[in-house]
Subunit: 333 residues, 4 copies
């Protein structure tokens, strides 16, 4: 049983069905029937007018957004453990043509208003120092913590006061929402988010993510940048259809609830080993090398996260006996 | 009936089946079973050791290759009608961080050795002028002409003599090969091609193209650049599986033969209207506005290509009555 | 006697005196007394409010301006013989992070409205093709022709109608003005120019050029980009002082008149050999290899410009016997 | 009396004389007599074959070097207080087209081998994380500390073992050498430095710095990149002449000794207030707001460096009574 990453899980059957259903001739790029329904479907979901773009990776969603929000000569404030800093090969620098990430501390990969403010205060307002243009937060964070809507709103308020844009890397936004119970609108645009990388692939999708613009005036630039970066697929309908399938009957939310529930089951079994509160679908545990080896010997796979630490990520399709047996194994260590 | 572009055609059923068959948990990114078979499968096909990378667009394949072959301060020689110049939104400039395209003339979007040599001769060898680093050719060309292996080899020889790399945009390489009867190896690495964008999407694929490196020492850089550009999908197995399905039993070649045959049928019916010889699956015709309107009234869709000119592109799935009826309609204009 | 380039001429003594006079401690970068007088001095000269930046090269002036006027994913229309295309090593691509130059034809390196309009008309308004953002013209041109103010105004009008910015490479603007007799204001901002590279180095300066912004709202971005590109010298006063010396008592105009007069003297002597009308300080002549060799044997140095063609450039300090003897030599060929 | 920065000091009279002496017609760019002597003069100075390039700023020297040493998709390890991180407006990101700076801790802006090794160890060797390509150190550091030759050699050894290039920002290398007594060769290429930004402007120069390549095979790329970045001045002789004047009779070393001696005099007077050992020409002191105000009231200008901290920088031309009076003022606080 693999608990490496929700990235590796299979796609939901309804996503595959949607791809098959899209397998007929239509207009190329994003002129097809499915792609043209995206703006409407996502505007409905967010209860405001948005512009939505399919892309195939979270890195593309994040970095296209950041390139539109930050010129080459300014900076993006983010947590030092943010995916854009740690796991995207420097893509923000490439897409923005040189913008800088200013790294912030904070427990569990959550940035604090205090850290943001301190970083801003520390920058002289002259041409020698790189001035910030945007803040990027990840929700749920890289350590499985959740910013509730009110927390995002406080960051959004700071951003607006300081003329900064706000980007949310929502690779696991579904898990964050399923956890916090907040409304999607409250968590995003009402909280001041300008652009959102809305993740589906980790949540039962196949290869389609959504970049959501609440500042719709950025849409023309994003459309060009998507093409510029080689991300305008010629048969876009297969991506759009995946997103529409995920939205239908809130499949995206059901999937997130399932993976969150699985994580909770593991958290319960490992209550005295938790490195972070389990708020989404990631479980970070203390485990000795010997304990890790025992779990692996029982057929469970996962990442070592540091000396004496392991990471377990649950997926939309993991429930029942798979989870129970891992929970039991952890409890029995 | 749509003859806009092979870009818009459906995917071949065996490609969809391969995607469905890949729908199980595996390692993320390109560590899965399918992705790991690509180098071997394509090395077999090309009869030499290659490194193969799945990407989702031809633009990505072209521009990743060009970025590895040309530094920011040098230039790529290509035809003025090349896709990289005309239809990729300036992506070569973005991926290379500023390299220049030097545009060449030539009938039917084929560059001539004479034009390449004249361009090189016209560049002073100093730091003020941009020195060329690579040549890029498209086969079949944007006007449906084919470079045979011997023609490519002459360009390849020139390139080597002048210290230039050679890239081939093979968005329709299958059509070119099906047309020329050359061997894949003769058309590519034996002719001096260093990197190839091997197209599958226009040829019955869904959303997977292949970037093939014959200079395998570039593989590490391309692997990083693919990630850097947001093109390393987390569930890469669905892309790799498509490519393997296309290779199996030479589906890629069968598809190309089918679309070429359809184009030949149209060419025969339109022999006195042809703007270019029909060597692949594109047919450019003279047609008055009134004639175009009549064809459209009969249910045929296609692009106007200029005053009095139209473009018809055939796909792997167009044959039999669909083609016959268009052929008859053209003949009857 | 060297007629290679006005680039190689000595600096005017008053420029050197100004440098010496600035040799005392002052604030670093552009906070010094001299730098702070630039905006005012140049606003007076142009009879409108401008923001002025010293830089050390025309390439820097041109490319900083273009980077502020054109995003990475759009294009600049310019003549195919423009300095930014031919002699700046691809710097526009580097400074803009990938923007494209769209090359236009036109006699004597002057672009025509017709060519601009045709280029714009040929671009599909979609994300696949690179949309223009700016026009750049060189005055005097690379072949020594002059756009009069009315000609610039027609291009400026077209630019505004089409939402394009207008940049002028004025490496030899002084020569153009001395030739046309137009007012500086009429030639620039009243004609729709948004940013001007105002050349002094070819005109008796030492190493200081001016970038002039008529759209003053771009000044903050240019200030940052100048630093970003390593062009904010720490002892800027030596550059500012040069510019102020050139402006004082219209030294810049006197110098241009002198070099223009020298060119006219040569043109008169070579009337039947001229490749272009001589409107500034460059003289392009037909001369056989044997004739060129004779001139060189007499001690005159210059560039061959192509088979049977030579280029002579006059400088602010060339007059009297030096010019007379070359004129006589040409007449006597 | 100003103690803001050595950046603001006047140029040495011999530098001005050299500029005046260069004021005659010569070949443009770097083809002139002075520029052509640079490689030789600096090869003699360093006792090895080097390639030397004049540039007008330390930022240009640093970033041109880094662009040649680090591709867009890799990283440069440097101290978190390094000039390239803190005071160059993000120029390394611009010149490299996106490379990342990995920031290290260390007292007084000196990096430690331990910090370098820990940073390298923390990077997974995969395509998701940015791999380092170079180390950059500043000598003397931004806090006026000096790496002796042996310390540099240890870093150089680590670099070579790990396949990393080594760059030295030597904006105040003269001060470092005057302080440590090491030989120039031992401090640079013998210690493993690949490229050196050799500063002269802070040390009595006017506007010419030198970029020194010990890996001479990088010279062609640097020559192109210098032009590409708009840093190839057309009248380069005025820059080359400055450098030659600084080298003549070791003026550069005499100047550094003078500013170091001035700093030592201040350090002695402020022994109980020093924040860092004074090893070059910068003096960081504890001083209350009230004390700072008193110094300023006496006519001394300097930067506040933080709450209760001030920075005094001495220049080549500050000695005698100017220094004595400040020393006395500090002692009397």
């Amino acid at each position: 049983m693999r608990f490496f990453s929700d990235n590796a899980a299979p796609a939901h059957p309804r996503v595959l069905e949607a791809i098959a259903a899209a397998n007929r001739l239509d207009t190329a790029y994003d002129g097809d029937d499915w792609s043209r329904r995206l703006d409407g479907a996502l505007s409905d979901l967010f209860a405001t007018e948005v512009r939505a773009f399919w892309v195939t990776t979270g890195t593309a969603a994040n970095c296209l957004a950041l390139a539109a929000l930050c010129p080459p000569y300014r900076a993006i404030l983010c947590h030092k453990d943010a995916h854009i800093e740690v796991d995207e090969a420097g893509a923000p620098g490439f897409f923005t043509a040189g913008a800088k990430l200013i790294l912030l501390d904070g427990d569990g990969a959550k940035i604090t208003l205090h850290a943001v403010a301190a970083a801003c205060d520390g920058i002289r307002k002259d041409v020698h120092q790189v001035q910030p243009a945007a803040i990027s937060i990840t929700n749920a964070t890289e350590y499985g913590l959740v910013y509730c809507a009110a927390e995002v709103a406080r960051i959004g308020e700071f951003a607006k006061e300081h003329g900064l844009a706000l980007h949310m890397d929502g690779a696991r936004l579904a898990n964050a929402l399923a956890s916090s119970g907040d409304k999607l609108a409250d968590m995003t645009w009402r909280a001041g988010v300008d652009a959102l990388s809305f993740g589906f692939v980790k949540n039962g999708g196949l290869n389609s993510e959504a970049l959501i613009l609440f500042r719709t005036e950025l849409a023309d630039e994003i459309a060009v940048r998507r093409k510029l970066a080689g991300h305008l697929l010629s048969k876009g309908r297969y991506l759009a259809a995946q997103l529409l399938a995920m939205l239908e009957n809130d499949l995206w939310l059901d999937n997130a609830r399932a993976s969150n529930a699985a994580a909770q089951a593991l958290a319960k079994a490992a209550a005295d080993r938790l490195l972070y509160p389990v708020e989404a679908n990631e479980v970070f545990l203390r485990a000795t090398a010997e304990e890790s080896a025992r779990l692996r010997a029982m057929g469970f796979d996962f990442y070592d996260w540091g000396p004496g630490e392991i990471r377990l990520v649950t997926s939309w399709d993991q429930h029942g006996s798979a989870i129970d047996s891992l929970a039991a194994a952890i409890a029995g260590l």
